[in-house]
């Protein structure tokens, strides 16, 4: 058992020690003596505190110490593992359009999926298969289930693996990460290398056959129209223009204090039928409208609509009119992106051996201790501990009242006996 916040346990121990020490202090009514001139004694509380050599109210002490320790243990968030296994495996299975043969994928991934602590299917997004991973893998053999429009993202997959590793770290000594993928060029983005560096060990890469590159998929943009032209119903004018710090189109980012005067029309978004990729753009079938560029707050800044001969891009990004922004390299890159080919580029070229070597790495398996622990507000044991603490608190209250009632009755009896004797 480990504690996520052991400081609370130490504090609970200190408080419990203090309570034990307090129970050596006896606060009770002192011995009774007769004094005829008692009326001249000033009125003060009828209690005297003395230090005794043994515990007073031992059962009350037990309940109080138990209550404090239960609360301290609950706040310390214990994590109980029946056992820790040597290696826990995380299997990432690529189910994007880059996979050439689903059957081969299922065959290659089967041995890694069986016995894995976690299985993740990834394409543009990543989803963990909690139950029936093997059955789900078998289901991939059916071509009809494949979303050939979905582009894979190694960055997304690695992020999912890191999150799962934080959850599994306390139940294993080492973590094995297995990636079953064709490792196509389009699945890598600018953040992939940095995210890979967060994994503290070796990655086992299982390469499967990739999809064939389609040579004529790239289409050029037919035209670019601006929002203030009103040529399309994709934009409505804002009542109050605001400013935004930048805009992004795929990997091209432009930082500038843009003044936004246009906002997407409601029906422009409803016509979109694609799924969002990690690059912020969306894939769309011909005729569909997809978001081509977004402002930094996520609002669409440009749409791309497929046409018979290519595509049309409707842009609500005002051109900078002051300063040398249009001369900056990031603007030139952004402008080139706007004029780039229609649709998402598809590049099924396999990643280079050099990239793969760096991706796999030569370290041993990732030690679980080096994986950051997931921040957990509670652990499974906390509600039980708090429940027990509540029961003990009620018991302490009942016991304390019972002691007080008994003491009062005893004093009343003594008073009656004394008055009768007088």
């Amino acid at each position: 058992m480990i504690f996520l916040a052991p400081a609370f346990l130490v504090a609970a121990g200190i408080v419990a020690a203090g309570v034990v020490a307090l129970h050596f202090l006896s606060t009770r009514e002192p011995d009774t003596d007769l004094l005829p001139t008692v009326r001249f004694v000033p009125r003060v509380p009828v209690q005297a505190t003395t230090i005794t050599a043994r515990f007073t109210d031992p059962w009350l002490l037990v309940l109080r110490v138990l209550l404090i320790l239960l609360l301290g243990t609950a706040l310390a968030r214990p994590l109980i593992h029946p056992f820790v296994q040597p290696v826990s495996r995380i299997a990432l299975v690529d189910v994007s359009r880059a996979v050439g043969s689903p059957g081969e994928l299922a065959d290659s991934a089967g041995s890694y999926v069986d016995g894995a602590a976690a299985v993740v299917f990834f394409d543009a997004g990543a989803r963990e298969i909690e139950d029936g991973a093997s059955d789900a893998l078998e289901g991939l053999r059916d071509e009809a289930q494949w979303d050939r429009a979905s582009r894979g993202s190694l960055s997304t997959a690695l992020i999912a693996a890191l999150r799962i590793a934080s959850r599994l770290r306390d139940g294993a000594d080492s973590l094995q990460l297995v990636v079953v993928s064709p490792f196509a060029l389009e699945e890598r983005d600018a953040a992939t290398a940095e995210i890979r560096a967060l994994w503290p060990g070796r990655i086992d890469a299982v390469r499967v056959a990739g999809a064939q590159q389609q040579p004529d998929e790239a289409r050029t943009a037919e035209r670019v129209e601006w929002a203030d032209s009103g040529a399309t119903g994709l934009w409505t004018q804002r009542e109050t223009p605001d400013t935004i710090g930048g805009v992004r189109a795929d990997d091209a980012v432009m930082v500038y204090p843009f003044v936004r005067r246009w906002q997407p029309a409601p029906d422009a978004l409803e016509s979109n039928a694609g799924t969002e990729t990690a690059g912020g753009t969306e894939s769309a079938d011909a005729g569909e409208t997809r978001v081509y560029a977004r402002w930094m707050d996520g609002e669409p800044a440009a749409f791309e609509r497929a046409t018979a001969d290519g595509c049309m891009r409707s842009v609500a990004i005002p051109l900078p009119t002051e300063g040398d922004a249009i001369l900056r390299p990031d603007f030139q890159r952004f402008l080139a992106e706007l004029e780039g080919p229609c649709g998402e580029p598809r590049d099924m070229t396999p990643l280079s051996d050099g990239f793969m070597a760096a991706f796999v790495g030569d370290e041993p398996l990732a030690p679980a201790s080096e994986v950051p622990r997931r921040v957990m507000r509670t652990t499974p044991a906390v509600p039980w501990l708090l429940g027990f603490a509540l029961v003990v608190a009620l018991a302490e209250l009942w016991f304390r009242r019972r002691l007080a009632t008994g003491a009062r009755a005893k004093r009343a009896d003594e008073g009656i006996r004394r008055s009768r004797a007088a």
Partner: protein, 294 residues
């Protein structure tokens, strides 16, 4: 009679209790002497008035002055003394030794003995919880002191008897007697003082003997819960802090009590149990300005 009683009687054997007040001056011959054969001491002459006893005329002075004068003299007369003793529960302190009660009892006996030594009739009345069976009228017979001693020995202090009715009864039965009240004045002190004021204003000699136990003057420093023996519900904690307050309050009350009794025209003597009973008796019977005398 135990050894302490005997020692007390021996200590006060030669003690007398002189009256502190003279009998009011009046017509000659109105106050009859109780004792036969006592010679009158010449005090003064007064012109003869119609109605005076002719036997009192000084004939020699008449021959010299050709005018009749009568002789005035101070007549030795007896002064009955009644000792009223408080036997309430507050006098039964400490409960194990009853030291306060025995001290009060000895004072009463000592006062009775001093009065009897001056050939004054003496009696005792006890305010006790078990009725009025403890009463001896003032007598001058031999052995009266031992009778008083025996009566007091049979008294068990307790309860909350009121002293004022006993004082009133004594005063009515003995109109001219000197009254000594031996008590701790923790009961009906106001009523007692009121009666004493009335009797003193009427010319009677009244003495208040305030009996205090040593522990009441300075209670133990051990923290305890003290209870009134006459009122069980009255209990107060006696701590280091409250002890100082108690000593101050008790002292203030004793000062007020002394002042009130003296303003009433009575004598007030405070006696503490750590002093000897004989010494306490001597302080009562001997006026402060004359010092002690046998």
């Amino acid at each position: 009679m135990n050894a302490a009683d005997g020692a007390l009687l021996d200590a006060v054997r030669s003690l007398r209790w002189p009256a502190r007040r003279k009998a009011p001056a009046g017509l000659a011959g109105d106050h009859r002497s109780w004792m036969r054969g006592i010679s009158a001491e010449f005090e003064d002459y007064r012109a003869y008035r119609q109605g005076d006893d002719i036997g009192k005329i000084d004939w020699k002075l008449l021959a010299r002055r050709d005018r009749a004068y009568i002789r005035l003299s101070t007549e030795q007369t007896v002064l009955p003394t009644m000792v009223v003793v408080d036997a309430s529960a507050s006098m039964a302190y400490p409960s194990a030794t009853l030291e306060k009660w025995h001290f009060a009892r000895h004072i009463a006996i000592g006062l009775a003995s001093a009065a009897h030594n001056g050939r004054d009739p003496v009696g005792v009345a006890v305010a006790s919880a078990n009725g009025d069976g403890h009463y001896l009228p003032a007598r001058n017979r031999r052995g009266i002191v031992h009778q008083i001693l025996a009566l007091l020995a049979g008294v068990a202090p307790g309860g909350s008897p009121r002293l004022a009715p006993v004082l009133d009864t004594v005063a009515r039965r003995h109109p001219r007697a000197r009254i000594a009240v031996v008590s701790d004045f923790l009961g009906d002190a106001e009523e007692i003082l009121k009666q004493a004021t009335e009797r003193s204003a009427a010319g009677r000699e009244v003495h208040a003997v305030h009996v205090i136990h040593t522990t009441e003057m300075s209670p133990s420093e051990r923290p305890s819960l003290v209870v009134d023996p006459e009122e069980a519900q009255l209990k107060r904690p006696l701590t280091e802090y409250s002890r100082l307050g108690y000593i101050e309050n008790f002292g203030d009350w004793r000062e007020r009590l002394a002042r009130d009794w003296r303003m009433a025209g009575a004598s007030y003597t405070e006696v503490v149990t750590d002093a000897g009973a004989a010494q306490a008796v001597r302080r009562v019977v001997v006026p402060p300005e004359t010092g002690s005398r046998a």
